[in-house]
Amino acid sequence: MPPWLQLMTDSLPTLLWAALVFTIPLTLLSFTLGLALGLVTAIARLFGARPVVAVARFYVWVIRGTPLLVQLFVIFYGLPSIGILLDAFPAALIGFTLNVGAYTSEIIRAVIASVPRGQWEAAYSIGMSWSQAMRRTILPQATRVAVPPLSNTFISLVKDTSLAAAITVPELFQTAQRIVATTYEPLILYIEAALIYLALSSVLSALQVRLERRFSRYGGFLEART
């Protein structure tokens, strides 16, 4: 076995473990929480009273307008100055959740607005309340349109979790860095880390294809070709 392959094989379990314990949970948790936050924010912007709309807009403005890395530093290194001390993982989780929430709120807002007004009226005409119409009629249709853009966010997120390395979360990328510090083989280790990220996002892409297929059964006439 060539030495580079030997090194890759030896370090693989450590890297996979870091992915399993940190990268994947961080991604799944912050995406789920972020999606919920995005839904609330989108509904606030579409249907909220004026002050509620203002708060939602301010949140999206700040998060989208500042670098994710800087946000993570503010949360992890900055907040202790005012007495808020967070462990690295929760700090990263908060940062990523806020980020996902801001970006997905724009997606969710657009897809909710894309459902024709006649669908609301049809739902109301059979006696549904606003929340019933939202849950039973509007969101299912909006979800279908949202799958591709939300998949974008999801896949970006997997890769962005590598930024958590900078606030001491021992996730995949940081683990690769630590191995490099002892082996002095940056090319091999970083390519290996990149390949693991690629594998993770490939799983998500496959998931996207399956979801799209499931939704297209009720008459998608323009499906992605595979």
Binding site: G118, Q119, E121, A122, I126, M128, S129, Q141, R217, Y218
Partner: protein
């Protein structure tokens, strides 16, 4: 009894309906006819409160509601009145993510909290009535316009509304497809379904309606039995409109 008293609807300064008064007995079919922008769709949408009248009063059976410009109508009041009605839309508006039968069951299960099997039985009965039982499990996108509209009629009838409101039910359909919808509506009329329909379709109005209301400029110009309105209207305005319809349909 369905009663509209002094219904007025404004959008800003624009008066769309002005002092509309109508009394309709249950079991009758009323056609609202008139030029586009004459107020027939708005009037229909005022009856199930998709539009809230600016002022006036509506009574549907036991449920009654008064409107005034400075009075905000509560959601519970809207629901009470709206549940007396079912609506059929020009563009069908079936729920595309649900099969035909799921569309018909939706109001029963989600709103009236019926158990699924009871709702399914009722939905199947209605699909049979509109001749769509063989397509119960089809997705709306795979149905023709006429078939979609028939499913939409079944959906509107599912919660047994006191009155069925039809907003241009045949306008989006070619003559052949609209025939199958007219067919279904006239059968419902014979069975005593109370209906109010806004329509341009002379065939539909003359075959199904017991009474015709001619609306123009947001006011009721003339009303009477279809024969009178379509062959011997009193008002010049009605006469001109009916003549234009006749020309359009080749009568």
């Amino acid at each position: 009894m369905i009663e509209l008293r002094h219904i007025e609807k404004r959008f800003g300064d624009h008066v769309v309906l002005h002092d509309i008064n109508l009394r309709l007995s249950e079991g009758t079919v009323t056609a609202l006819v008139g030029p586009s922008g004459g107020g027939k769709s708005t009037l229909l949408r005022c009856i199930n409160l998709l539009e809230i009248p600016t002022s006036g009063a509506i009574r549907l059976g036991e449920e009654a509601l008064d409107f005034a410009p400075d009075r905000k109508v509560g959601w519970a009041e809207i629901q009470k009145l709206r549940r007396q009605t079912g609506m059929v839309f020009q563009n069908f508006q079936l729920f595309p993510h649900q099969t035909a039968i799921a569309n018909v069951m939706e109001g029963l299960v989600t709103v009236l909290k019926w158990p699924a099997d009871k709702a399914r039985a009722r939905a199947m009965e209605l699909l049979e009535k509109v001749g769509m039982a063989h397509k119960a499990d089809a997705w709306p996108a795979t149905l023709s316009g006429g078939q979609q509209q028939r499913v939409a009629i079944a959906r509107a009838l599912a919660p047994s509304p006191r009155v069925l409101l039809c907003d241009e039910p045949t306008s989006a359909l070619d003559p052949e497809l609209s025939e199958e919808v007219v067919e279904v509506l006239s059968r419902l009329a014979r069975e005593g379904t109370t209906m109010i329909m806004a329509t341009h379709d002379l065939r539909l109005a003359s075959r199904v309606a017991d009474g015709v209301v001619f609306l123009d400029g947001g006011v009721i110009v003339e009303q009477g039995p279809p024969k009178t309105i379509f062959t011997a209207p009193e008002r010049e305005r009605t006469r001109r409109f009916v003549a234009s319809l006749g020309a359009q349909h080749g009568h």
